[in-house]
Protein backbone atom coordinates (compact mmCIF):
# COMPACT_ATOMS: atom_id res chain seq x y z
CA UNK A 1 0.00 0.00 0.00
CA UNK A 2 2.77 2.37 1.00
CA UNK A 3 4.56 1.59 -2.25
CA UNK A 4 1.50 2.31 -4.32
CA UNK A 5 0.74 5.60 -2.58
CA UNK A 6 4.36 6.71 -2.85
CA UNK A 7 4.49 5.95 -6.54
CA UNK A 8 1.14 7.58 -7.23
CA UNK A 9 2.33 10.77 -5.57
CA UNK A 10 5.58 10.84 -7.51
CA UNK A 11 4.13 9.76 -10.84
CA UNK A 12 2.84 13.05 -12.31
CA UNK A 13 6.10 14.88 -11.64
CA UNK A 14 8.19 11.89 -12.71
CA UNK A 15 6.39 11.54 -16.04
CA UNK A 16 6.83 15.22 -16.87
CA UNK A 17 10.46 15.24 -15.76
CA UNK A 18 11.22 12.18 -17.85
CA UNK A 19 9.44 13.62 -20.88
CA UNK A 20 11.38 16.87 -20.86
CA UNK A 21 14.72 15.95 -19.34
CA UNK A 22 15.69 12.28 -19.52
CA UNK A 23 13.96 11.22 -22.72
CA UNK A 24 15.17 14.27 -24.68
CA UNK A 25 18.70 13.78 -23.35
CA UNK A 26 18.76 10.22 -24.69
CA UNK A 27 16.88 11.22 -27.84
CA UNK A 28 19.50 13.90 -28.48
CA UNK A 29 22.16 11.21 -28.59
CA UNK A 30 20.00 9.15 -30.97
CA UNK A 31 19.31 12.14 -33.22
CA UNK A 32 22.99 13.03 -33.31
CA UNK A 33 23.79 9.63 -34.83
CA UNK A 34 21.41 10.21 -37.75
CA UNK A 35 21.25 12.61 -40.65
CA UNK A 36 18.90 15.58 -40.63
CA UNK A 37 15.68 14.58 -42.41
CA UNK A 38 14.98 16.57 -45.55
CA UNK A 39 11.74 16.90 -47.52
CA UNK A 40 11.85 13.58 -49.35
CA UNK A 41 14.81 12.03 -47.54
CA UNK A 42 14.04 10.61 -44.10
CA UNK A 43 16.78 10.53 -41.45
CA UNK A 44 19.28 7.70 -41.90
CA UNK A 45 21.87 6.25 -39.55
CA UNK A 46 25.19 7.99 -40.09
CA UNK A 47 27.11 6.85 -37.04
CA UNK A 48 29.66 9.41 -35.89
CA UNK A 49 29.55 11.51 -39.05
CA UNK A 50 28.05 14.49 -37.26
CA UNK A 51 30.76 14.36 -34.64
CA UNK A 52 33.42 14.13 -37.31
CA UNK A 53 31.92 17.16 -39.00
CA UNK A 54 31.95 18.89 -35.64
CA UNK A 55 35.66 18.25 -35.10
CA UNK A 56 36.32 19.79 -38.50
CA UNK A 57 34.02 22.76 -37.89
CA UNK A 58 36.00 25.93 -37.04
CA UNK A 59 32.87 27.66 -35.71
CA UNK A 60 32.37 24.88 -33.15
CA UNK A 61 35.94 25.26 -31.90
CA UNK A 62 35.59 29.02 -31.89
CA UNK A 63 32.38 28.80 -29.83
CA UNK A 64 34.00 26.40 -27.39
CA UNK A 65 37.01 28.68 -27.05
CA UNK A 66 34.77 31.73 -26.64
CA UNK A 67 32.80 29.90 -23.98
CA UNK A 68 35.99 29.05 -22.09
CA UNK A 69 37.14 32.68 -22.21
CA UNK A 70 33.67 33.88 -21.28
CA UNK A 71 33.66 31.55 -18.24
CA UNK A 72 37.17 32.61 -17.24
CA UNK A 73 36.30 36.26 -17.70
CA UNK A 74 33.04 36.22 -15.77
CA UNK A 75 33.40 33.67 -12.98
CA UNK A 76 36.45 34.72 -10.91
CA UNK A 77 35.64 38.43 -11.18
CA UNK A 78 31.96 38.13 -10.30
CA UNK A 79 32.74 35.84 -7.35
CA UNK A 80 35.45 38.17 -6.04
CA UNK A 81 33.12 41.16 -6.44
CA UNK A 82 30.26 39.28 -4.78
CA UNK A 83 32.47 38.48 -1.82
CA UNK A 84 33.71 42.07 -1.60
CA UNK A 85 30.15 43.40 -1.76
CA UNK A 86 28.96 41.03 0.94
CA UNK A 87 31.95 41.86 3.13
CA UNK A 88 31.31 45.58 2.71
CA UNK A 89 27.58 45.62 3.39
CA UNK A 90 27.90 43.14 6.23
CA UNK A 91 29.71 45.83 8.24
CA UNK A 92 27.93 48.82 9.70
CA UNK A 93 28.32 51.62 7.20
CA UNK A 94 26.23 54.55 6.11
CA UNK A 95 23.72 53.88 3.37
CA UNK A 96 23.86 50.12 3.80
CA UNK A 97 20.24 49.60 2.74
CA UNK A 98 20.75 51.57 -0.45
CA UNK A 99 23.97 49.75 -1.26
CA UNK A 100 22.40 46.32 -0.85
CA UNK A 101 19.55 47.32 -3.09
CA UNK A 102 21.91 48.75 -5.67
CA UNK A 103 24.01 45.56 -5.81
CA UNK A 104 21.04 43.24 -5.99
CA UNK A 105 18.77 45.10 -8.43
CA UNK A 106 20.36 43.76 -11.66
CA UNK A 107 19.40 40.26 -10.50
CA UNK A 108 15.70 41.05 -10.73
CA UNK A 109 15.90 42.52 -14.23
CA UNK A 110 15.39 40.20 -17.20
CA UNK A 111 18.68 39.49 -18.98
CA UNK A 112 17.07 40.71 -22.19
CA UNK A 113 16.22 44.06 -20.60
CA UNK A 114 19.74 44.34 -19.25
CA UNK A 115 21.09 43.52 -22.70
CA UNK A 116 18.95 46.25 -24.29
CA UNK A 117 20.16 48.86 -21.82
CA UNK A 118 23.80 47.93 -22.36
CA UNK A 119 23.35 47.80 -26.11
CA UNK A 120 22.51 51.47 -25.82
CA UNK A 121 25.63 52.13 -23.70
CA UNK A 122 27.88 50.49 -26.26
CA UNK A 123 26.43 52.48 -29.20
CA UNK A 124 29.37 53.92 -31.16
CA UNK A 125 29.90 57.64 -30.61
CA UNK A 126 26.61 58.27 -28.86
CA UNK A 127 26.52 55.68 -26.08
CA UNK A 128 27.60 56.17 -22.49
CA UNK A 129 30.79 54.12 -22.87
CA UNK A 130 32.09 56.13 -25.80
CA UNK A 131 31.19 59.39 -24.09
CA UNK A 132 33.08 58.33 -20.97
CA UNK A 133 36.06 57.38 -23.12
CA UNK A 134 35.89 60.77 -24.83
CA UNK A 135 35.84 62.54 -21.47
CA UNK A 136 39.07 60.74 -20.63
CA UNK A 137 40.59 62.29 -23.72
CA UNK A 138 40.44 59.45 -26.21
CA UNK A 139 38.41 60.86 -29.05
CA UNK A 140 36.51 59.17 -31.83
CA UNK A 141 33.81 56.54 -31.86
CA UNK A 142 34.42 52.89 -31.14
CA UNK A 143 32.32 50.03 -32.41
CA UNK A 144 32.69 48.05 -29.17
CA UNK A 145 30.30 45.25 -30.13
CA UNK A 146 31.32 45.24 -33.78
CA UNK A 147 34.99 44.59 -33.16
CA UNK A 148 36.29 41.07 -32.69
CA UNK A 149 38.81 42.02 -30.04
CA UNK A 150 36.38 43.85 -27.74
CA UNK A 151 33.01 42.14 -28.19
CA UNK A 152 33.56 39.28 -25.74
CA UNK A 153 34.88 41.64 -23.09
CA UNK A 154 31.76 43.79 -23.48
CA UNK A 155 29.54 40.76 -22.88
CA UNK A 156 31.66 39.69 -19.92
CA UNK A 157 31.16 43.09 -18.29
CA UNK A 158 27.38 42.88 -18.73
CA UNK A 159 27.30 39.40 -17.22
CA UNK A 160 29.42 40.38 -14.23
CA UNK A 161 27.16 43.35 -13.60
CA UNK A 162 24.11 41.09 -13.74
CA UNK A 163 25.44 38.24 -11.58
CA UNK A 164 27.66 39.68 -8.84
CA UNK A 165 24.73 40.90 -6.74
CA UNK A 166 23.01 37.54 -6.95
CA UNK A 167 26.08 35.72 -5.65
CA UNK A 168 26.53 38.40 -3.00
CA UNK A 169 23.44 37.33 -1.07
CA UNK A 170 24.83 33.83 -0.53
CA UNK A 171 28.05 35.26 0.86
CA UNK A 172 26.05 37.67 2.97
CA UNK A 173 24.04 34.81 4.45
CA UNK A 174 27.22 32.84 5.14
CA UNK A 175 28.98 35.82 6.71
CA UNK A 176 26.05 36.39 9.01
CA UNK A 177 26.32 32.77 10.11
CA UNK A 178 29.94 33.11 11.19
CA UNK A 179 30.24 33.91 14.88
CA UNK A 180 31.71 37.41 15.31
CA UNK A 181 33.59 36.09 18.35
CA UNK A 182 35.99 34.29 16.01
CA UNK A 183 37.16 37.51 14.40
CA UNK A 184 37.24 39.33 17.73
CA UNK A 185 39.37 36.64 19.30
CA UNK A 186 41.80 36.86 16.44
CA UNK A 187 42.02 40.64 16.56
CA UNK A 188 42.66 40.61 20.32
CA UNK A 189 45.56 38.36 19.48
CA UNK A 190 46.77 41.27 17.36
CA UNK A 191 45.80 39.91 13.95
CA UNK A 192 44.94 42.51 11.30
CA UNK A 193 41.55 42.46 9.56
CA UNK A 194 43.02 41.29 6.30
CA UNK A 195 44.79 38.48 8.14
CA UNK A 196 41.55 37.45 9.88
CA UNK A 197 39.77 37.45 6.55
CA UNK A 198 42.43 35.34 4.87
CA UNK A 199 42.97 32.82 7.63
CA UNK A 200 39.58 32.61 9.36
CA UNK A 201 36.70 34.01 7.30
CA UNK A 202 37.65 32.88 3.81
CA UNK A 203 38.22 29.20 4.72
CA UNK A 204 34.88 29.19 6.55
CA UNK A 205 33.22 30.52 3.39
CA UNK A 206 34.57 27.67 1.26
CA UNK A 207 31.25 25.75 0.95
CA UNK A 208 29.54 28.96 -0.21
CA UNK A 209 32.32 29.59 -2.70
CA UNK A 210 31.89 26.08 -4.11
CA UNK A 211 28.13 26.54 -4.38
CA UNK A 212 28.47 29.90 -6.10
CA UNK A 213 31.22 28.58 -8.36
CA UNK A 214 29.11 25.70 -9.62
CA UNK A 215 26.18 28.01 -10.27
CA UNK A 216 28.43 30.45 -12.08
CA UNK A 217 29.85 27.73 -14.30
CA UNK A 218 26.39 26.38 -15.18
CA UNK A 219 25.21 29.90 -15.98
CA UNK A 220 28.14 30.53 -18.27
CA UNK A 221 27.00 27.61 -20.42
CA UNK A 222 23.27 28.08 -20.05
CA UNK A 223 22.63 31.79 -20.45
CA UNK A 224 22.84 33.24 -23.97
CA UNK A 225 19.92 35.72 -23.96
CA UNK A 226 22.27 38.68 -24.11
CA UNK A 227 24.01 37.26 -27.16
CA UNK A 228 20.73 36.99 -29.07
CA UNK A 229 20.00 40.63 -28.27
CA UNK A 230 23.42 42.25 -28.48
CA UNK A 231 25.58 40.49 -31.06
CA UNK A 232 23.93 37.40 -32.58
CA UNK A 233 27.28 35.69 -32.11
CA UNK A 234 29.10 38.19 -34.29
CA UNK A 235 31.16 39.77 -35.61
CA UNK A 236 32.39 36.72 -37.47
CA UNK A 237 31.48 34.36 -34.59
CA UNK A 238 33.72 36.24 -32.15
CA UNK A 239 30.97 36.17 -29.48
CA UNK A 240 29.28 32.86 -30.28
CA UNK A 241 28.93 30.65 -27.19
CA UNK A 242 28.18 26.93 -27.35
CA UNK A 243 24.44 27.12 -26.59
CA UNK A 244 24.08 30.06 -28.94
CA UNK A 245 25.69 28.00 -31.69
CA UNK A 246 23.25 25.17 -30.94
CA UNK A 247 20.42 27.67 -31.34
CA UNK A 248 21.88 29.01 -34.55
CA UNK A 249 22.38 25.58 -36.12
CA UNK A 250 19.11 24.16 -34.84
CA UNK A 251 16.74 27.05 -35.48
CA UNK A 252 18.29 29.15 -38.22
CA UNK A 253 19.81 26.43 -40.43
CA UNK A 254 17.38 23.78 -39.13
CA UNK A 255 20.17 21.19 -39.11
CA UNK A 256 18.73 19.28 -36.14
CA UNK A 257 21.11 16.33 -36.31
CA UNK A 258 24.19 18.53 -36.11
CA UNK A 259 22.56 20.68 -33.41
CA UNK A 260 21.98 17.46 -31.44
CA UNK A 261 25.64 16.54 -31.72
CA UNK A 262 26.57 20.00 -30.42
CA UNK A 263 24.07 19.61 -27.58
CA UNK A 264 25.80 16.38 -26.59
CA UNK A 265 29.01 18.33 -25.98
CA UNK A 266 27.08 20.72 -23.76
CA UNK A 267 25.49 17.81 -21.89
CA UNK A 268 28.92 16.24 -21.48
CA UNK A 269 30.27 19.39 -19.89
CA UNK A 270 27.29 19.66 -17.52
CA UNK A 271 27.53 15.97 -16.59
CA UNK A 272 31.22 16.37 -15.78
CA UNK A 273 30.29 19.29 -13.55
CA UNK A 274 27.60 17.26 -11.82
CA UNK A 275 30.02 14.45 -11.09
CA UNK A 276 32.58 16.94 -9.81
CA UNK A 277 30.02 18.48 -7.50
CA UNK A 278 28.88 15.09 -6.29
CA UNK A 279 32.44 14.07 -5.41
CA UNK A 280 32.98 17.35 -3.62
CA UNK A 281 29.80 16.99 -1.57
CA UNK A 282 30.81 13.44 -0.64
CA UNK A 283 34.08 14.78 0.70
CA UNK A 284 32.38 17.48 2.69
CA UNK A 285 30.09 14.97 4.35
CA UNK A 286 33.13 12.98 5.43
CA UNK A 287 34.56 16.05 7.10
CA UNK A 288 31.56 16.51 9.32
Amino acid sequence: MKHVTGWLLVLPAAVLLATFTHVPAVATLWTSLHSTPKKNRPAIWVGLDNYQAMLADPVFWQSLKNNAWFALGTIPTSIALALAMAWLVNAKLSGRGFLRMSYFTPTVLPMIAVANIWLFFYTPGYGLVDRAVNLLGFGGSHNWLGTQSTVLLCLIIVTIWKEAGFFMIFYLAALQGIAPALGEAASIEGAGRWYVFRRVTFPLLMPTTMFVLINAVINSFRLVDHIVVMTKGGPDNASSLLLYYVYDVGFKFWDTAYAAALTMVLLGILAALAIGQFLFLERRIHYQ
Binding site: F20, L93, N116, R131, V229, L243, T263, A274
Partner: protein
Protein backbone atom coordinates in the same frame (compact mmCIF):
# COMPACT_ATOMS: atom_id res chain seq x y z
CA UNK B 1 53.07 57.38 15.28
CA UNK B 2 49.61 56.32 14.11
CA UNK B 3 47.45 54.72 16.77
CA UNK B 4 45.82 51.39 15.82
CA UNK B 5 42.26 52.66 16.21
CA UNK B 6 43.12 55.63 14.01
CA UNK B 7 44.38 53.26 11.35
CA UNK B 8 41.26 51.21 11.74
CA UNK B 9 39.18 54.36 11.28
CA UNK B 10 41.04 55.16 8.08
CA UNK B 11 40.55 51.70 6.67
CA UNK B 12 36.86 51.87 7.54
CA UNK B 13 36.54 55.15 5.66
CA UNK B 14 38.29 53.55 2.71
CA UNK B 15 35.87 50.62 2.80
CA UNK B 16 32.86 52.91 2.93
CA UNK B 17 34.22 54.81 -0.04
CA UNK B 18 34.80 51.58 -1.97
CA UNK B 19 31.29 50.37 -1.13
CA UNK B 20 29.82 53.61 -2.44
CA UNK B 21 31.85 53.61 -5.62
CA UNK B 22 30.63 50.08 -6.35
CA UNK B 23 27.07 50.98 -5.37
CA UNK B 24 26.95 53.98 -7.69
CA UNK B 25 28.55 52.01 -10.53
CA UNK B 26 25.98 49.24 -10.08
CA UNK B 27 22.91 51.48 -10.02
CA UNK B 28 24.16 53.84 -12.74
CA UNK B 29 22.98 51.81 -15.77
CA UNK B 30 19.47 51.69 -14.35
CA UNK B 31 19.44 55.38 -13.45
CA UNK B 32 20.63 56.20 -16.94
CA UNK B 33 17.90 54.03 -18.46
CA UNK B 34 15.28 55.80 -16.33
CA UNK B 35 16.66 59.18 -17.42
CA UNK B 36 16.48 58.27 -21.09
CA UNK B 37 12.99 56.83 -20.83
CA UNK B 38 11.47 59.78 -19.00
CA UNK B 39 12.96 62.58 -21.07
CA UNK B 40 12.39 63.74 -24.66
CA UNK B 41 14.67 62.29 -27.31
CA UNK B 42 17.02 65.28 -27.53
CA UNK B 43 17.96 64.79 -23.86
CA UNK B 44 18.59 61.05 -24.10
CA UNK B 45 22.33 61.61 -23.86
CA UNK B 46 22.39 65.16 -22.53
CA UNK B 47 22.14 65.66 -18.81
CA UNK B 48 20.55 68.98 -17.93
CA UNK B 49 18.67 69.41 -14.68
CA UNK B 50 16.02 71.50 -16.39
CA UNK B 51 15.21 68.83 -19.00
CA UNK B 52 11.42 68.41 -19.14
CA UNK B 53 9.96 65.11 -17.96
CA UNK B 54 7.70 63.20 -20.32
CA UNK B 55 5.74 59.97 -20.63
CA UNK B 56 5.69 60.26 -24.40
CA UNK B 57 8.25 57.48 -24.88
CA UNK B 58 6.12 55.04 -22.92
CA UNK B 59 3.02 56.00 -24.86
CA UNK B 60 4.86 55.51 -28.15
CA UNK B 61 6.21 52.13 -27.13
CA UNK B 62 2.83 50.97 -25.84
CA UNK B 63 1.12 51.96 -29.10
CA UNK B 64 3.82 50.56 -31.37
CA UNK B 65 3.47 46.94 -30.26
CA UNK B 66 0.77 44.77 -28.63
CA UNK B 67 2.37 44.97 -25.19
CA UNK B 68 -0.97 44.53 -23.43
CA UNK B 69 -1.30 41.11 -25.04
CA UNK B 70 2.32 40.24 -24.20
CA UNK B 71 1.68 41.12 -20.57
CA UNK B 72 -1.41 38.92 -20.49
CA UNK B 73 0.60 36.06 -21.98
CA UNK B 74 3.40 36.42 -19.45
CA UNK B 75 0.90 36.68 -16.63
CA UNK B 76 -0.87 33.50 -17.72
CA UNK B 77 2.45 31.73 -18.23
CA UNK B 78 3.82 32.63 -14.83
CA UNK B 79 0.57 31.70 -13.06
CA UNK B 80 0.05 28.39 -14.81
CA UNK B 81 3.65 27.30 -14.36
CA UNK B 82 3.66 28.22 -10.70
CA UNK B 83 0.34 26.52 -9.98
CA UNK B 84 1.46 23.32 -11.70
CA UNK B 85 4.84 23.42 -9.98
CA UNK B 86 3.31 23.86 -6.55
CA UNK B 87 0.94 20.91 -6.96
CA UNK B 88 3.36 18.50 -8.67
CA UNK B 89 6.34 19.31 -6.48
CA UNK B 90 4.34 19.12 -3.26
CA UNK B 91 3.02 15.64 -4.09
CA UNK B 92 6.40 14.32 -5.18
CA UNK B 93 8.26 15.91 -2.28
CA UNK B 94 5.84 14.37 0.20
CA UNK B 95 6.42 10.93 -1.30
CA UNK B 96 10.20 11.35 -1.24
CA UNK B 97 10.15 12.64 2.33
CA UNK B 98 7.72 10.23 3.97
CA UNK B 99 7.03 7.11 1.85
CA UNK B 100 9.59 4.32 1.63
CA UNK B 101 8.50 3.02 -1.78
CA UNK B 102 10.49 0.71 -4.04
CA UNK B 103 13.03 2.57 -6.13
CA UNK B 104 12.79 5.77 -4.15
CA UNK B 105 16.52 6.49 -4.02
CA UNK B 106 16.98 5.85 -7.73
CA UNK B 107 14.02 7.98 -8.75
CA UNK B 108 15.19 10.78 -6.51
CA UNK B 109 18.64 10.65 -8.06
CA UNK B 110 17.03 10.84 -11.51
CA UNK B 111 15.04 13.87 -10.38
CA UNK B 112 18.23 15.61 -9.27
CA UNK B 113 19.65 15.21 -12.78
CA UNK B 114 17.40 18.10 -13.80
CA UNK B 115 19.30 20.46 -11.48
CA UNK B 116 22.23 20.24 -13.89
CA UNK B 117 20.57 19.47 -17.21
CA UNK B 118 17.82 22.03 -17.36
CA UNK B 119 15.21 22.28 -20.14
CA UNK B 120 17.06 25.44 -21.23
CA UNK B 121 19.77 23.26 -22.74
CA UNK B 122 17.59 20.65 -24.46
CA UNK B 123 15.95 23.14 -26.81
CA UNK B 124 16.37 21.12 -30.01
CA UNK B 125 14.72 17.97 -28.75
CA UNK B 126 12.04 19.68 -26.69
CA UNK B 127 11.04 21.68 -29.75
CA UNK B 128 10.50 18.40 -31.62
CA UNK B 129 8.39 17.09 -28.75
CA UNK B 130 6.20 20.19 -28.83
CA UNK B 131 5.82 19.82 -32.60
CA UNK B 132 4.86 16.19 -32.08
CA UNK B 133 2.26 17.18 -29.47
CA UNK B 134 0.98 19.82 -31.88
CA UNK B 135 1.22 22.64 -29.33
CA UNK B 136 3.92 24.82 -30.89
CA UNK B 137 3.28 28.53 -30.51
CA UNK B 138 1.16 28.27 -27.35
CA UNK B 139 1.74 29.64 -23.87
CA UNK B 140 1.27 26.10 -22.59
CA UNK B 141 4.26 24.88 -24.59
CA UNK B 142 6.48 27.55 -23.03
CA UNK B 143 5.63 26.39 -19.54
CA UNK B 144 5.29 22.63 -19.95
CA UNK B 145 8.99 21.63 -19.70
CA UNK B 146 9.31 23.54 -16.43
CA UNK B 147 6.23 22.29 -14.61
CA UNK B 148 7.95 19.41 -12.86
CA UNK B 149 10.84 21.17 -11.17
CA UNK B 150 13.64 19.19 -9.54
CA UNK B 151 14.56 22.28 -7.64
CA UNK B 152 11.06 22.61 -6.16
CA UNK B 153 10.87 18.93 -5.28
CA UNK B 154 14.25 19.07 -3.58
CA UNK B 155 13.45 22.22 -1.64
CA UNK B 156 10.08 20.94 -0.39
CA UNK B 157 11.44 17.48 0.42
CA UNK B 158 14.05 19.06 2.70
CA UNK B 159 11.32 21.07 4.40
CA UNK B 160 8.86 18.19 4.78
CA UNK B 161 11.60 16.07 6.36
CA UNK B 162 11.83 18.54 9.23
CA UNK B 163 8.13 18.13 10.09
CA UNK B 164 7.83 15.94 13.24
CA UNK B 165 6.48 12.51 12.37
CA UNK B 166 4.19 12.66 15.43
CA UNK B 167 2.10 15.38 13.78
CA UNK B 168 1.67 13.19 10.72
CA UNK B 169 0.68 10.19 12.83
CA UNK B 170 -1.71 12.22 14.97
CA UNK B 171 -3.54 13.38 11.86
CA UNK B 172 -3.75 9.82 10.57
CA UNK B 173 -5.15 8.60 13.90
CA UNK B 174 -7.86 11.21 13.60
CA UNK B 175 -8.78 9.61 10.30
CA UNK B 176 -7.19 11.99 7.83
CA UNK B 177 -6.21 10.48 4.47
CA UNK B 178 -2.87 10.94 2.72
CA UNK B 179 -3.80 14.11 0.85
CA UNK B 180 -5.64 15.57 3.82
CA UNK B 181 -2.60 15.04 6.06
CA UNK B 182 -0.40 16.66 3.44
CA UNK B 183 -2.75 19.61 3.12
CA UNK B 184 -3.41 20.13 6.83
CA UNK B 185 -0.05 19.28 8.39
CA UNK B 186 2.76 19.73 5.88
CA UNK B 187 1.66 22.55 3.60
CA UNK B 188 0.96 25.11 6.37
CA UNK B 189 4.32 24.41 8.02
CA UNK B 190 6.18 24.94 4.74
CA UNK B 191 4.61 28.33 4.01
CA UNK B 192 7.84 30.39 4.05
CA UNK B 193 9.43 27.91 1.66
CA UNK B 194 6.45 28.15 -0.67
CA UNK B 195 6.74 31.93 -0.71
CA UNK B 196 10.46 31.73 -1.41
CA UNK B 197 9.94 29.22 -4.18
CA UNK B 198 7.11 31.22 -5.70
CA UNK B 199 9.17 34.41 -5.87
CA UNK B 200 12.10 32.64 -7.48
CA UNK B 201 9.86 30.81 -9.94
CA UNK B 202 7.93 33.91 -10.94
CA UNK B 203 11.10 35.93 -11.52
CA UNK B 204 12.63 33.10 -13.49
CA UNK B 205 9.69 32.65 -15.83
CA UNK B 206 8.98 36.34 -16.15
CA UNK B 207 12.58 36.77 -17.35
CA UNK B 208 12.99 33.58 -19.38
CA UNK B 209 13.78 34.27 -23.00
CA UNK B 210 15.51 31.69 -25.20
CA UNK B 211 12.96 28.86 -24.98
CA UNK B 212 9.92 31.16 -25.39
CA UNK B 213 11.69 32.78 -28.36
CA UNK B 214 12.01 29.36 -29.97
CA UNK B 215 8.52 27.95 -29.37
CA UNK B 216 6.47 31.08 -29.96
CA UNK B 217 5.83 32.64 -33.29
CA UNK B 218 2.89 35.00 -32.92
CA UNK B 219 1.43 37.78 -30.84
CA UNK B 220 -1.07 35.43 -29.19
CA UNK B 221 1.60 33.42 -27.39
CA UNK B 222 4.67 35.66 -26.99
CA UNK B 223 5.63 36.67 -23.45
CA UNK B 224 6.91 40.20 -22.78
CA UNK B 225 10.60 39.28 -23.05
CA UNK B 226 10.17 37.95 -26.58
CA UNK B 227 7.76 40.78 -27.41
CA UNK B 228 10.37 43.29 -26.31
CA UNK B 229 12.99 41.66 -28.51
CA UNK B 230 10.68 41.60 -31.54
CA UNK B 231 9.84 45.24 -30.89
CA UNK B 232 13.36 46.55 -30.36
CA UNK B 233 14.93 44.60 -33.20
CA UNK B 234 12.17 45.51 -35.62
CA UNK B 235 12.20 48.60 -37.82
CA UNK B 236 11.85 51.16 -35.04
CA UNK B 237 14.96 52.84 -36.35
CA UNK B 238 17.23 53.20 -33.37
CA UNK B 239 15.06 55.31 -31.15
CA UNK B 240 16.73 54.56 -27.86
CA UNK B 241 14.29 56.64 -25.84
CA UNK B 242 11.36 54.49 -26.92
CA UNK B 243 13.29 51.21 -26.68
CA UNK B 244 14.47 52.08 -23.19
CA UNK B 245 10.93 52.98 -22.18
CA UNK B 246 9.71 49.62 -23.49
CA UNK B 247 12.52 47.86 -21.66
CA UNK B 248 11.64 49.51 -18.36
CA UNK B 249 7.96 48.84 -18.92
CA UNK B 250 8.51 45.11 -19.35
CA UNK B 251 10.66 44.89 -16.23
CA UNK B 252 8.52 47.27 -14.18
CA UNK B 253 6.19 44.81 -12.43
CA UNK B 254 9.06 42.71 -11.07
CA UNK B 255 11.21 45.73 -10.32
CA UNK B 256 8.42 47.44 -8.37
CA UNK B 257 7.62 44.25 -6.48
CA UNK B 258 11.30 43.94 -5.62
CA UNK B 259 11.60 47.53 -4.40
CA UNK B 260 8.48 47.14 -2.26
CA UNK B 261 9.33 43.73 -0.81
CA UNK B 262 13.12 43.89 -0.87
CA UNK B 263 13.66 41.88 2.29
CA UNK B 264 11.26 39.15 1.16
CA UNK B 265 13.00 38.89 -2.20
CA UNK B 266 16.53 38.71 -0.88
CA UNK B 267 15.56 36.21 1.80
CA UNK B 268 13.67 34.11 -0.72
CA UNK B 269 16.55 33.94 -3.16
CA UNK B 270 18.80 33.08 -0.25
CA UNK B 271 16.53 30.41 1.15
CA UNK B 272 16.08 28.89 -2.28
CA UNK B 273 19.80 28.87 -2.95
CA UNK B 274 21.09 27.37 0.25
CA UNK B 275 20.20 23.77 0.38
Amino acid sequence: MIRPDERRGASRALETAAAWVLGVLWILPLVYAVWTAFHPREYSAKFVVTAPLTLQNFAEAWNAAPFARYFVNTFVLVTVVLAAQLVLCTLAAYAFARFAFVGRELVFLLVLVQLMIMPDVLIVQNYRTMALLGILDTVFAIGLPYMASAFGIFLLRQTFKTVPKELDEAARVEGAGVLETLWKVYVPLAKPVYIAYALVSVSYHWNNFLWPLIVTNSVTSRPVTVGLQVFSSGDQGVDWSVITAATLMTSAPLLLAFLLFQRQFVQSFMRAGIR
